[in-house]
Symmetry: C2
Subunit: 320 residues, 2 copies
């Protein structure tokens, strides 16, 4: 296993994914094809397939079984992005106009359904029944997390635990699924499957905390999405929860839709900065990163393990 | 097998379906639970599970394998209804407010995703890999048909063949899937599986033609949906295609969004009635009904076969 081998495998997964998503015929498919091609193109980080392939490489790597799984996981992720953007009415994704901005909301709902259906078909036809079940359960957890997130809009709480639970459902579930699926499919030992799954879960939490932070400290030019977008949507992210815990009185009245629309974001940022909320959130991310690396340490040394450590380690340093 | 047995089995499927759809926890699920409970309640015709169970009863009926499949198929159907209503912005479904009218559009998109995910999970965990694959392929066909339908809005064509193709993708695919899945899971002979699948397909076409007709000849009080709703959405149904073929000149200019909004529906109805389009569409429905019954005739006499014949035969006579 080598960097070249990994990149070749990723190219094969990308091709399979595009082939799968682009295989629809008829006028309807033509209308969504261009918008989806961009979304499935080079702009994405392709993290979930990367994790899945690397986890597989810690076992007896079996490309014909691993590639369809990796493509299915990324299609699932993409489906949730398309529906998220419709739901949040977000204008852009990865610096390009969101799918619904290009096709209209109707076709965007259907485009998401189409990606779900292709993901499920790939799972049912080309992966083991066990992994089809894992994938189905992950879809379930992710949709539940979305529903919860939507129900909790504009209800801000200083509970770090509840923030971390939401974070877990969103990002960590799919990272953990990717690692487990790749490892199981390549017959890694149960001990290694479990270490990889835990490592990916913790790395997913670290990744999402960093995402929450970038909503405040990132720039649109780098992240490809507007700053304080989460706040604008009424989502309670970790820095806000921490600021709320540190300065409940000063935060009062700043977290309503009206206040945010009128620009309370800058005051919230000042409070968060002064109260150390950003540093605390950063420290949380580092703690999860360390847990993740400790779990990877239970595997024997290999290119795949070290590359996973590099990928997981990079999550807390990224600026997009 | 008897009517009582069938009704008991259908009750068990309904209970499983509600349990599956209602098993979500958390604030998000609470918000959609009531709206979904109504949709999964007694108001629906529950046709697809009925077809699936009856097809199973022509073989060695295996309740523990058939019930989850029947519930999965109905969950899938319900998911498409929820997203359809969001997409079409339809105010009502089965005489009750549509899900998105009660939960908002965001939660309705997620509620549909949730039903898809529960359907996948049920299929992956409780049915055979073969049937999980059949189900995945059916989802694929249905979503493609929706995409096509959406792309063809306000493009009316006198082609009966193209109408029938659209009809096939929408309704007949899922009817055929239901019959095949029930029969396969209960080890009916390949000859019988094939006869049942064809019979259900033809019955589905007859059902949808009748639906198209009811858009013109039904009453909102009976059908639970506004008259000429399909026309209002720019969908080309069989009666319109036939009227367009018979009276292209008189139909000119009546089929634009503006004309329809201004009430061209009544003039279209007069033309369709005078040109015999309704009778012709009716005759097509009867032709498919007859094909369906002929295919059922290839099975040995049994309660299940005769009940399927009764159900399929009733499609062309229904007024809702």
């Amino acid at each position: 296993m080598s960097p070249d081998f990994l990149e070749n495998e990723l190219s094969a997964v990308r091709a399979l994914m595009r082939e799968t998503a682009g295989s629809g015929r008829g006028a309807g498919h033509e209308r969504i094809a261009a918008a989806l091609a961009d979304l499935l193109g080079a702009g994405g980080k392709f993290l979930r397939p990367r994790i899945l392939l690397l986890a597989g490489m810690t076992g007896s790597y079996a490309p014909e079984r691993v590639r369809p799984l990796a493509a299915a996981v990324e299609l699932l992720h993409t489906a949730t992005l398309v529906h998220d953007d419709v739901i949040d009415d977000s204008p852009s994704r990865r610096g390009l106009p969101a799918v619904h901005e290009r096709t209209g909301r109707k076709d965007a709902v259907l485009a998401g359904d189409w990606l779900f259906s292709r993901c499920f078909l790939l799972a049912a036809e080309r992966t083991s029944p066990e992994n089809a079940r894992h994938l189905a359960r992950a879809i379930d957890v992710i949709v539940s997390a979305e529903l919860d997130q939507d129900a909790c809009r504009w209800s801000f709480s200083p509970s770090v635990r509840s923030c971390l639970r939401k974070i877990g459902g969103k990002t960590a579930t799919l990272f953990a699924l990717a690692a487990r699926a790749g490892a199981v499919e390549c017959r890694a030992s149960p001990r290694h499957v479990s270490a990889l799954t835990r490592a990916a879960w913790s790395a997913g939490v670290a990744f999402q905390i960093q995402d929450d932070l970038l909503d405040w400290t990132g720039s649109e030019a780098r992240t490809g999405k507007p700053v304080r977008r989460d706040l604008g949507e009424g989502l309670c992210t970790l820095p806000v929860a921490l600021a709320l815990r540190a300065e409940p009185k000063r935060m009062e009245g700043l977290l309503t839709p009206e206040a945010v629309r009128k620009g309370s974001g800058e005051e919230i940022e000042r409070i968060a900065r002064a109260s150390g909320a950003f540093e605390l959130a950063s420290a949380q991310a580092l703690r999860y990163r360390d847990r993740s690396l400790a779990d990877l340490g239970r595997l024997p040394a290999s290119y795949a393990r070290d590359e996973l450590a590099r990928v997981f380690g990079s999550f807390v340093e990224r600026d997009r």
